[in-house]
């Protein structure tokens, strides 16, 4: 489902809720699939008693993965050229995250057309948890 270069415009934006009321079990699920078993994310005793946090919190990479779904739902997994984020704030169990991607520029390189996007994800109180950029290959107009 690649997107054609005449199907999107600079300034166009998409937004979606990528997780609602994040459950601790989903963090466990991500730990198992990714192999990152840092107890900060799944072990309440450790997170509070040793690391000094109020509780467990999501892997940054779970938040990035959730955010990436907005891009792959829009442009397809085969079209991504770049995807990068900064982690701005922690994501806690119970958080609801909304991701937004905006087309900043449509340009061309030796491979054809591509779209440069800004990406951000906020939690329910509006705090930005992730901000970044992505680039996706667009299909040429036949």
């Amino acid at each position: 489902m690649p997107v054609r270069s005449d199907e999107i415009k600079v300034g166009e934006s998409r937004e979606r809720v990528v997780v609602e009321d994040l459950k601790r079990t989903q963090i466990v699920q991500y730990a198992g699939a990714s192999g990152d078993y840092n107890p900060l994310h799944t072990d309440h005793e450790f997170a509070t008693g040793i690391a000094g946090y109020p509780g467990v919190f999501a892997h940054g990479m779970l938040t990035m993965g959730l955010t990436g779904r907005l891009l792959t739902d829009w442009f397809g997994r085969d079209s991504l050229l770049r995807f990068g984020v900064r982690f701005k704030a922690q994501v806690w169990p119970g958080d609801t995250l909304t991701a937004t991607a905006t087309v900043e520029e449509i340009t061309t390189d030796e491979g054809g057309s591509l779209a440069e996007l800004s990406v951000r994800t906020v939690r329910q109180d509006g705090t930005e948890v992730v901000s970044g950029t992505a680039a996706v290959r667009l299909e040429g107009v036949a």
Binding site: A33, S34, G35, A51, Y53, F57, G60, M61, K88, G132
Partner: protein, 162 residues
């Protein structure tokens, strides 16, 4: 740590996709027909950790684990760091059936003074190559370590997500 062999398997990709809430039917279809060569989610290369024999954030039989048991656990040497940034450059999509390998090298490092004190940032560049030796993904990870005592409470300002 180098990962000599990271096979991209249909079941593993399905589990990873489920964990990030991606229910695309293509992942299920791969189980029946791995020749479909479905592209993996964009952050899937993180799962190379499963194939790193020395990965410190996985309990190993016969070795001490730093998480809680009867007690609350203990701080892991040099592990107070958090994940500040992650960047991927895709030379082509990672696909089910790929046999990747990964090599990491240190990148830049810099310091910044935040509310909680001195923050040390350091970059790691990891290259994922396919069986033919062609570059598939270049990943750049930035970690941050707070010099001050206590948790990196500044993560809220300066990035950091473990």
């Amino acid at each position: 740590m180098p990962v000599p062999r990271f096979p991209v398997e249909a079941g593993h990709v399905l589990m990873f996709a489920r964990a990030i809430g991606d229910d695309d039917a293509a992942y299920q279809a791969e189980l029946a027909d791995p020749e479909g060569r479905a592209a993996a989610p964009p952050t899937f290369t993180m799962a190379a950790a499963q194939f790193d024999d020395d990965y410190p954030l996985r309990p190993k039989p016969g070795q001490k684990w730093f998480g809680s048991g009867a007690g609350p656990g203990e701080a892991l040497e040099g592990s107070g760091g958090l994940h500040a940034e992650q960047h991927f450059e895709y030379h082509r999509p990672v696909r089910v059936g790929d046999i990747l390998s990964a090599e990491s090298r240190p990148g830049r490092s810099w310091e910044k003074t935040g509310r909680a004190g001195l923050l040390r940032f350091s970059e790691t560049i990891t290259e994922y190559r396919d069986a033919a030796g062609d570059l598939v993904v270049t990943a750049r990870s930035v970690g941050v370590l707070a010099e001050a005592s206590g948790p990196a409470s500044d993560a809220e300002d300066n990035g950091g997500n473990g």
